[in-house]
């Protein structure tokens, strides 16, 4: 296949990156889950970004430390993050190799050179290290600017009366459209850079021999292990060990409850003893009855004393008043 007949760099880059991402992902997510169960990783709210950086992309391995220095994207905590990143490297090299060899045989009809996976991975990771921070800064700037512009647009008198839901929708369309366009353009640029790396490798590769059916059979069998029994046994054993590790590490109760919704402290209720409770209640009732009786007695004595005082007062005043006014009936209590 001549250079003219080779697919475009964007097509080549997309073919390899998309397939490599999904080839390595099942293994990476398994390891990530194990680390989560063992409490080695705590991801924060930006799960989409964490997914892209740690699990999906084979090109962010060198870009991530640079990004951490430039933009400080805090995606989570725990020693498992660095460990996951290191473990991802051999997985990505293997995945890039499998995908690239298939592409060379199936789509390009080229003989895949030895060490294709490692060399392609190294080059694409370097491209990623240079390009990712630029993409981050450009897209970040575009998003920030477009948000500010769309906000300021709705600050004008003419648009102040627009209802909230409509305002949010229009603003989102404006800044989302602008930042998505920048993101897509930048990503296509990055993918085309990776595509150029693959293209240069393809140009130097020798053409593959055999007809299409033979090539299909070759790349198909390339994925089938030579000793399937050994492969199956090894996979089962590894799966068993990892499952046991997972279940032994899985927390019995919620691992990290939210600050707002912490588990309430529950105090154990005292043991209920009916006879004791009844006798206590009886004593309490008797006590209360005695108190009531004492209060009533005290009240009666006070009233009696008051009556006496009133009678004395009346007796003292009765002589001069008798001549002038008729005697009134005593006020009822």
């Amino acid at each position: 296949m001549t250079e003219r007949e080779l697919p475009s760099p964007v097509k080549l880059g997309l073919n390899v990156l998309w397939s490599t991402c999904w080839t390595g992902f099942p293994i990476k997510i398994g390891i990530c889950l194990l680390f989560l169960a063992l409490g080695l990783i705590h991801f924060e709210a930006r799960i989409g970004l964490a997914f892209l950086m740690y699990l999906a992309s084979p090109v962010t391995v060198f870009a991530m430390p640079i990004l951490a220095m430039v933009a400080e994207p805090h995606l989570g905590e725990g020693a498992g993050i660095a460990l996951l990143f290191l473990i991802c490297i051999p997985i990505d090299i293997w995945a890039t190799g499998v995908v690239a060899r298939t592409l060379f045989l199936e789509k390009l009809s080229k003989e895949p050179p030895d060490g294709l996976g490692l060399s392609l991975w190294l080059k694409t990771a370097l491209v990623g290290a240079l390009f990712m921070p630029i993409l981050w800064l450009v897209v970040g700037f575009a998003t920030q600017t477009s948000i500010e512009l769309s906000h300021s647009l709705f600050e004008t008198e003419m648009l102040k009366a627009v209802p909230v839901a409509e305002k949010i929708g229009i603003e989102l369309t404006l800044w989302g459209g602008a930042s998505s366009t920048v993101l897509i353009v930048m990503m296509l640029l990055g993918v085309s850079l990776v595509g150029r790396v693959i293209r240069s490798a393809a140009q130097s590769a020798a053409p593959a021999s055999g007809d299409y059916q033979a090539l299909v059979t070759r790349w198909d069998l390339m994925r089938v292990p030579a000793d399937q029994g050994l492969m199956l046994t090894a996979t089962t054993l590894v799966g068993l060990v990892l499952s046991m590790l997972f279940w032994s590490g899985l927390p019995v109760s919620t691992p990290h409850p939210h600050e707002c919704c912490k588990k309430p402290e529950v105090k154990a209720a005292p043991l209920y003893k009916p006879v004791d409770t009844l006798s206590k209640a009886e004593k309490h009732v008797a006590q209360l009855a005695a108190q009531v009786e004492a209060i009533e007695k005290q009240k009666a004595e006070e009233e009696a004393a008051k009556e006496k005082d009133k009678d004395k007062g009346k007796a003292g005043k009765a002589k001069p008043a008798d001549a002038k006014a008729p005697v009134k009936a005593p006020a009822t209590p």
């Binding site: 209802p163 839901a165 989102l172």
Partner: protein, 370 residues
């Protein structure tokens, strides 16, 4: 001299059992029919969503049954029993969170599966019935999400259901009956919870099992559609049987989805809000995320008022579903390549962009209200 067949003593116990069953039900014929189906153009990762959906449903059933051992479907115990599952039952938090994220994964995979069938043009003749049954299954999955959301009986559950039933009420002719039937009273209460619980654990699973069986039967009868591009020579060169490659891909897909759901359960375990009360307080009612776009659509002024609400909540989604159902009968062009069907491609992009836009707008609106 007649040659005697190999003695049955040479067979192992397992082989004997298999031979016994095979003699009676034709096990080997069933196995051959199930595994040796040719897949035109060979196995593909794009074909895994159907199997993944079946796997998610089985896992939802398993975790749902385990949760039912502790869950009490009464208005005065539903919240407390869910709290008990989260805080007291060993690994209860994980089961509940898996069940919660499993429902989300099911919705995502339904969308992915429908998109794949649409973009591949696999709904076209002779696969119209598969598409129609698939649409019914989509409705059932949405029904699972809607009915399951009420069961924890917290403020989020109570108010999402209130909003959902109110939307349903706007359907002409049957809306009032449906709303009254589901609510069982003036406001959501014990009757609502009982009815949602029965629909969630009895009616919908039975309907899903029946329709999923029919879906698979129809799929096997019509056969896989295969890739939408490539020369006949290329497709023939790659054609392969269902076993082992497609099964291997399906298994890897299922394991990946299982790991992803587990990881999400760790990332965001289920946390309940306050117990449900008829007073929303500071809480701003909203439905589950996959209904958010519709909820945000109804906030627009053009969908205000009685007629506007009917238009946005019932007429538009109803018309869209009717269009999807009629699609195989409208689009009779045998061309399946999505890049040669610009209306279909643009239509799919517009629908996806609108769903994404309105969902994100609903999230921003929530922050604005808070």
């Amino acid at each position: 001299m007649q040659q005697t067949p190999s003695s049955s003593a040479e067979l192992t116990a397992l082989e004997k059992v298999i031979a016994f069953v095979d003699e009676r039900v034709g096990l080997k014929t069933i196995q051959a029919k199930m595994l040796n189906e040719p897949v035109p153009g060979g196995s593909r990762w794009a074909y895994v969503f159907g199997s993944i959906l079946l796997f998610i449903f089985i896992m939802q059933a398993v975790t749902g049954i385990l949760l039912m051992f502790y869950y009490v479907p009464t208005a005065d115990h539903a919240f407390a029993s869910t709290q008990y599952i989260i805080h007291e039952v060993d690994y209860g938090w994980f089961l509940l969170s898996y069940h919660f994220w499993g429902s989300t994964a099911m919705v995502v995979c339904v969308f992915a599966h429908m998109s794949q069938v649409f973009l591949w043009g696999a709904y076209k003749s002779p696969r119209e019935l598969i598409w129609l049954v698939g649409l019914a299954l989509f409705g059932i999955v949405m029904g699972f999400g809607f009915t399951g959301y009420l069961l924890p009986w917290d403020q989020r559950a109570y108010w999402a259901t209130t909003v959902g039933v109110e939307i349903m009420d706007k359907t002409p002719v049957i809306g009032d009956f449906m709303a009254r039937f589901l609510k069982g009273g003036a406001i959501p209460g014990q009757m609502t919870l009982s009815r949602f619980f029965v629909v969630h654990v009895m009616i919908l699973p039975a309907a899903l099992m029946g329709l999923a069986g029919l879906h698979i039967f129809l799929f096997r009868a019509a056969g896989p559609a295969g890739p939408f591009r490539g020369t006949p020579e290329e497709i023939k060169a790659k054609t392969d049987y269902f076993f082992p490659r497609q099964i291997w891909k399906d298994i890897v897909g299922m394991i990946t989805v299982f790991f992803t759901i587990c990881a999400l359960a760790f990332w965001e375990p289920v946390v309940l809000l306050e117990e449900a009360t008829p007073d929303p307080g500071d809480y701003h009612p909203e439905p589950e995320w996959y209904f958010l776009f519709l909820f945000q659509l109804l906030r627009l002024k053009m969908f205000g008022g009685e007629f506007g609400q009917f238009l946005g909540a019932i007429a538009l989604p109803g018309a869209f579903m009717a269009l999807l159902a009629a699609l195989p009968f409208i689009d009779k062009d045998p061309e399946r390549n999505i890049f040669k069907r610009p209306i279909a491609l643009i239509g799919w992009i517009v629908v996806m962009a609108m769903i994404l836009l309105f969902t994100v707008a609903a999230i921003i609106n929530r922050e604005f209200l808070d």
